[in-house]
Structures are given as structure tokens and as C-alpha cells.
Symmetry: C2
Subunit: 304 residues, 2 copies
Amino acid sequence: MLTTWNDGAVKSAIVDFVARITRAGGPDFVRPAERIAVFDNDGTLWCEQPMQAQVFFLIDRVKQLAAADPALATRQPFKAFLEHDHATLHALGKPAIMELFMTTHAGMTEDEFDVIARQWFAQAKHPKLGRPFDRCTYVPQVELLAHLREHGFKNYIVSGGGVDLIRAFAEEAYGIPREQVIGSSAKLRFEIKDGRPALMKAAELGSFDDREAKPQNIGLHIGRRPLLAFGNSDGDLAMMRYTLGGPGPRLALLIHHDDAAREVAYDRDFKLSPLADALDNADGYGITVVSMKRDWKVVFEGKT
Amino acid sequence: MLTTWNDGAVKSAIVDFVARITRAGGPDFVRPAERIAVFDNDGTLWCEQPMQAQVFFLIDRVKQLAAADPALATRQPFKAFLEHDHATLHALGKPAIMELFMTTHAGMTEDEFDVIARQWFAQAKHPKLGRPFDRCTYVPQVELLAHLREHGFKNYIVSGGGVDLIRAFAEEAYGIPREQVIGSSAKLRFEIKDGRPALMKAAELGSFDDREAKPQNIGLHIGRRPLLAFGNSDGDLAMMRYTLGGPGPRLALLIHHDDAAREVAYDRDFKLSPLADALDNADGYGITVVSMKRDWKVVFEGKT
């Protein structure tokens, strides 16, 4: 049971929690329908260093689009993006980032995006790990997901990443079906395209699924307060606090990336998704901190 | 199998469809993960006449709130609503309706609303059927939901009704868990209330889940095109067309309320949710029309 986790307080806390809420007739028994677990994705279920897979996907897509339409490369913000002109990108600000996302993640049907995403996963490689992105998942977490599933849990991903990119690989990589993925999303528009009813991904943000939006989207999509939440940044804190706010036993876990040898050691200085408040005040919040270095026997598949 | 459905073309179409997509090794086999069925609620799974349960709930809630705060009854739109002053209500228009909904369905936490909804279901009675609202469900539909579930389907409700009211009874009445209910919703706001992290229902519309919004919300929440859709009004047409637009066998069913003896005969003149386009053009859309009179052996529990 959880053979890829090292024995210790954290592993015991997880195993004991699951045993406690599934013990039939016990005081803390929770019926299967209420066994909801929520996981952040980037940095919690797979590697987010040096940047989230989403960003690598964005870069590859802008290059593909510019190759098909050279005029794009002469327009901002694409010109600055392709030329690594960070100063101009910074000056263009948030609307530029939004335009980059919308151009690469919208303006096509859901079905069309799914094909693009799957093609990308089939070809792209993580620059540091040298393997497909969908094989940059954390082995102990995949084992934990299976352990929870075997004990009647429904596992959800609740990620700041784009929902459709995650849906394209989550079932195979994590055993998490598409309908159990909540993420950032573009608004969808029902249209008849080429005579066929389809959902167009509009160039308008639906939800940026980070911080307070995480529990809010849990309420919208799931309608139950989770029993267990797992995150790795301050973006996951609201979701963890919401989880812990329910009656009866609850468990909130926070990965601390403290393993420079096997992955990367980082927390408050990672600008794309910092960890400070949740780590500094974990005790006060009732959050269990998982040390990658101390608690995981292995990190990535095929490596220790 | 489907013993509360009369033999005939419609029952055969349903039974054959399910057999076809579940036959292992068959040309139309669909793996269980992709077996999604979506059902409208009002008029499809339970009675919506003379008004939707949502409206009766709204009336009872306004009365309760006015009893607790008499000043409310002197303010519009509540005054007009309580005095059945339709002319004034009509003149106040959509913002007034929205205020009635937001006052009764928002300004409290999700947990608090759930308690209110369950108390209402425990006490309120349908004015015509003389039984609790959650026992105004259609017996043949409850049997169909079970038939689909036994064949590996995940059944979803996709309703114009408020998601939290439906979630309060759907699991018991239909075997549909809270996370498989999509409906109209207020925006949620993560807050610390009385020291406890909670989701507040804000007085702002999140989604009015009708017409085009139905397939759009299916895309957001489920991320798969359904195999089967069941509705009863033009509000369900986009969802039915989206379902039929996928490859391989698909089934879209439309209840025609043509049974004045056992329920109510109505379609295009029911202002709260008219049926015209979907009925008039069912053949062209590829929609199978279900006649309540012809196809259902019983309608309500304990009655034929």
C-alpha cells in the first residue's frame, strides 16, 4: 500500500485517514457518494518546472500558427513572444498574455482542439526530463490516486491550467475521466459548423481557475465539499481551506518541492505559481506538508 | 426490461440503441467512459404543470421571508408578487424576476440553502397531485435511468432549474449524484463565514442553463458529447442537436405531453417552456417523439 511513499508521519496520515473514513460502522465513516478528493495538477500531479506544460504548448502553437501564417509573426504580441522580447511583452501586459492564450486555445471547436492537444502530447518532449509531457507525472501521486479510487473516492483535478489540455491526457495518465477535470476555460458557443452542431471555443475567458475560483468551481461542478485536497502553491490554499472547513475528518496536503537532486527545489520565488502563505502557516491552517525529498521513494517513472 | 413502457416503436428504439452501443465487439460498441446520457428535468423527469416546482419553491420562500421581515411585503417586486399583481410584475420586467430569484436563492451559503431546500421538499405538496414534489417524478423515466445506469451510462441532469434545488433531491429520486446535476446557478463566492470557509451564493446570475447554454454547459462540465439526450421543450433542442451531431449512433428523445387524462396535454402554448420547433421538425432533426399517452404504461407512482 503506497509502496512508492516512504514510511513516516505523512504516509501514515494518508493511510490512516482513508482507513478511518471507510471503516464500516466506524464513527467517521463517510458513504462512498461523499468521498470526493481534489487535486491541483501543475506541480502536484506532474512537473511544472521550468514552466507549466501549458506554456510549452502555447509556445509550440504560436510557432505552428506563425509558420502557417507568416503575417502573425509581424504582429504584437506574437512578434515579441517569438523574439523572446520580454520587455515588450511586459509592457503590453495582461491583455497580450490573454491574446496569446485565446489565439492558441480558442477559435476552434472543442473536438478540433482535442485533436491538436493529442498531437502535441504525442510529439512534444519535456526539455529537461527528455520525455513526453504526459510521462512527467509523479509516480507516488498516481499510486495515491489509485489508492483513493480503490476506496471509493472520486478524484477530481482542479487546476489553473486549461481544462481541455488536461482532459486530453488525464484519463490515460491518472485514471481521471474528462468530466472530473475542472480547469481554466474559454467560454463555449454552440454553433452549426459545416452543417454539424459543435461547441466553439470563443476568445473570451470563462473562468481562470485559481485561488478563490477553485472552491467556487468545486461548488459549481461537484456540489460537495471534498474530504481530501492536495496542492502545492498558494493558488491551492482556498481549495484546501474549503476542504478543511467541513465537519468530520478532512485532509489537506501540500507538496513542498524541496528535492533539488531528483526534481527542483523551489517555493516562494517561483513567479508563475508561488508557495509562501500555505507553507509558512500550514500548522495554523491544519495543512499536512509533504516533503518530496523525505516522503517520496521515487519521483518519476523509471527513475528513483 | 422497461416494464413501465408500452411495447412499440419508441420502446424498441431505446432498447435497441442501448443494446447496440453496449454489444462487445459490435461495430457500434462504445466504451463505458463515453456513455453519457443527459436529461432535462422539468417536464422530462418530473411534472412541470401547472408551474415548475422551482416557482412553487420561490412563492413559499417569498412568503417565509415576508413573514420574518414584514417590510419586504411593502417593497416591489415582492408586494406585487405577494398580491398576485401580474400587471405590475409584468411592468417591472426581467430585473424584477431576477430580484425575486436572487432574494430567495442567494445571500446564503450553499450548505444553508441545502437545508432550506430539504426542509421545503419534506413539507411542500404539489397542489394538483397532492404529494411531495419529489414524488411527482415519472415512473418510466426513473426506470429508464436505471436501465441506462445498468448498462454503464453516467446520467446527467441538464436543467434550466436551479442547480442547488435539484441537487437536494436528485440522488434519492433519480439515483443521480450531485456532481451529475447541471442547472442554472448563482455565482459562488468563497468567504470565511463565522470563522468557517464557505461558499456564498451571490446575488448575481452565473448561468441560465437553457437553450444554447445547455450544450455549452455540457462542454464545460462533462467535456464529452452525450450519446443520448432526453427533453420536452424547445429549450432542450440545442442539447438534442449537439447530441445527434456526434459520430456513430446517437439518440435524442422528446416527450410530448399529450395525456390530458393522466397528466396535462400541452406544448406550444405553455409560456414557461414552450414546445414547437422541436416537435414540428422532429423528423428533420432526427428526434424520436415519445407520446406520454401511447408510450407510457404508468405516469406517476401509485397511479396508472
